[in-house]
């Protein structure tokens, strides 16, 4: 199996990536992402990776470098073997903030993504309708996004992203605003869609249980600047029922991850004191 992996171009390869930002205005840039390398090999059945890390550590920044919205100061990012330089047409992101366009209907928002990729009008409508049904908004096609709750708006954004059916889907805390039940439903929907699509999903979250329920692999980052402190393969078979939350191995792994996150927060002050460039 290892030989097969290396024979195919990996989904994503991140090589020694660095990124610095002036954290306060008019200060020297401080490192936000520091020497991060990740190899995500291609998998026939698709791959699901979770990024876990404390708030403000640089997860969104790293995600933006994979999508090509930001370019690294140092290092390279490859998506499906091609170096990323500028917004990458092979990947698309569900952003952390609500990002529906208020001047379009719900359906129009989902169609917009397909339009930029040159999908024909009829096909566009069909796909957009299909994916809105999948996220449970089939009865709100003509609604204005501002008439929807925050969680529903986020589902529109998710439908817009998934309807494009790209090989790389990046999701930045997509379910953060949802209530527990909707969240569980959306997790299930996402897994179904992913298993059909067999693509790569990179999923940023604060939520340890969510990472364990969804991902094949969890990468844990330190507090700012983000460095990889742990790379875990999740051992659970699929499908993973919600009852897994009470499984003893699940709880053990949760404890490990909680410990890692605690540790990473504790080292924050060390990191910032040595982060002057």
């Amino acid at each position: 199996m290892d030989e097969q992996k290396t024979a195919v171009t990996p989904f994503v390869e991140i090589r020694h990536v660095h990124k610095a930002f002036p954290i306060q205005p008019n200060t020297k840039p401080a490192p936000v992402v520091e020497d991060v390398s990740i190899l995500i090999p291609h998998q026939e059945e698709g791959e699901f990776v979770a990024f876990l890390g404390p708030s403000g550590c640089g997860k969104s920044t790293l995600l933006h470098m994979i999508s090509g919205l930001l370019s690294p100061d140092k290092g390279e990012v490859y998506a499906l073997g091609k170096q990323v330089s500028g917004p990458d047409p092979q990947s698309v992101t569900v952003q952390q903030a609500y990002t529906c366009f208020p001047w379009l209907t719900v359906l129009g928002n989902v169609e917009f993504g397909l339009k930029t990729h040159g999908v024909e009008a009829v096909e566009r409508r069909k796909l957009a309708t299909e994916y809105l049904h999948k996220v449970g908004l089939g009865d709100r096609l003509d609604a204005n996004p501002r008439q929807l709750s925050g969680g529903m708006q986020q589902r529109v954004a998710i439908a817009r992203t998934l309807a494009m059916r790209l090989p790389i889907v990046l999701m930045d805390e997509p379910f953060g605003a949802l209530d527990a039940q909707t969240r569980a439903d959306m997790q299930e929907t996402l897994l179904h869609l992913w298993q059909d699509e067999k693509n790569l999903v990179v999923f940023v979250t604060h939520d340890i249980s969510e990472a364990l329920l969804l991902a094949n692999r969890i990468i844990v980052f330190s507090a700012r600047p983000a460095r990889i402190i742990y790379d875990m393969l999740v051992p659970f078979e699929r499908p993973r029922p919600q009852s897994l939350l009470y499984d003893s191995q699940f709880l053990q792994l949760s404890q490990v991850l909680i410990g890692l996150l605690k540790h990473s927060e504790a080292t924050t002050s060390d990191n910032t004191s040595t982060s002057g460039n």
């Binding site: 919205l69 917004p87 047409p89 990002t99 366009f101 001047w103 917009f112 993504g113 930029t116």
Partner: protein
């Protein structure tokens, strides 16, 4: 004391809605009463202020009736509205594209900014001589005058509207793969549309204040012309009638445009 309800003599903040309405209507009522009393003709030719200096409300009603009976007023209203509509058409036609381009493409902004900022500070009356030289005293010069009075505001406000479109919309569209053209046409322009509409409202108001100037000299029609003739003939009642007509039309245009904004452009 309490921060829930403002004390009547508190500083800043809002009065209760009822106190606010009562006070503003009271002020209006008192002004009207004083006006009525000082211009009331309690005996023939006997009033505190002459009709030439300040016509009474009744004089103005008569003046208005007179202007409508002769057909002067409806014609003048129509002509002025038509001039403003034309000037507005060109202001939007030029101002919106230029403003959108300045707001979205830094190179264009750098090239044009100094001109727009410079001309904005020149009162349009300063152009009157040139306008007459270039466009004559015909119909066209009126439209050009109104256009010059509004265009630079239109450009600047459109540019700011584009700048105020949330960055997150641009980020999402870029990530989805929108081209630069798609970004301008399908994200920046619709995102800025409510504020561009506000700019149109402001410019419409501006034009209704400039219309008197535009039609004062060398015009043979329009509300400005009506007022100018009436003032030359010492017909204060008709001057006021014309001014009130302008105020009413301008305010109702404003009201209609704002209603459209609230109903259709509310993001």
């Amino acid at each position: 004391m309490s921060n829930q309800k403002q004390h009547l003599l508190g500083m800043r903040g809002a009065l209760s809605r009822r106190a606010d309405t009562t006070l503003s209507l009271l002020a209006l009522g008192i002004a009207f009463l004083v006006w009525f009393l000082v211009t009331y003709e309690y005996a023939p030719e006997k009033r505190l202020v002459t009709g030439l200096f300040l016509p009474s409300p009744i004089d103005i009603v008569h003046g208005t009736q007179n202007l409508f009976r002769t057909g002067e007023m409806p014609g003048a209203i129509w002509v002025s509205m038509w001039r403003i509509a034309q000037a507005m058409f060109y202001t939007i036609l030029v101002g919106v594209p230029v403003g959108v381009l300045m707001g979205s493409v830094p190179i264009i902004d750098a090239l044009l900014r100094k001109f727009v900022d410079g001309f904005k500070s020149v009162p349009p009356t300063a152009f009157i001589g040139l306008i007459i030289l270039w466009f004559g005293i015909e119909e066209r010069s009126k439209t050009v005058f109104l256009f010059l009075g509004a265009i630079f505001y239109m450009i600047l406000m459109t540019k700011n509207a584009i700048r105020n479109v949330p960055e997150s919309y641009v980020t999402v569209a870029t990530d989805i793969g929108a081209s630069r053209l798609q970004l301008i046409r399908s994200v920046l322009l619709p995102g800025a549309l409510p504020q561009i509409w506000d700019a149109i409202i402001v410019c419409s108001g501006l034009m209704w204040t400039y219309i008197i100037l535009a039609e004062w000299v060398n015009a043979s029609s329009g509300l400005g012309h009506t007022i100018s003739i009436a003032s030359r003939l010492n017909r204060s009642d008709e001057v006021f009638a014309g001014v009130i007509a302008i105020a009413i039309i301008s305010a109702s245009t404003d009201w209609v445009l704002r209603a459209i904004r609230r109903r259709f452009l509310n993001w």
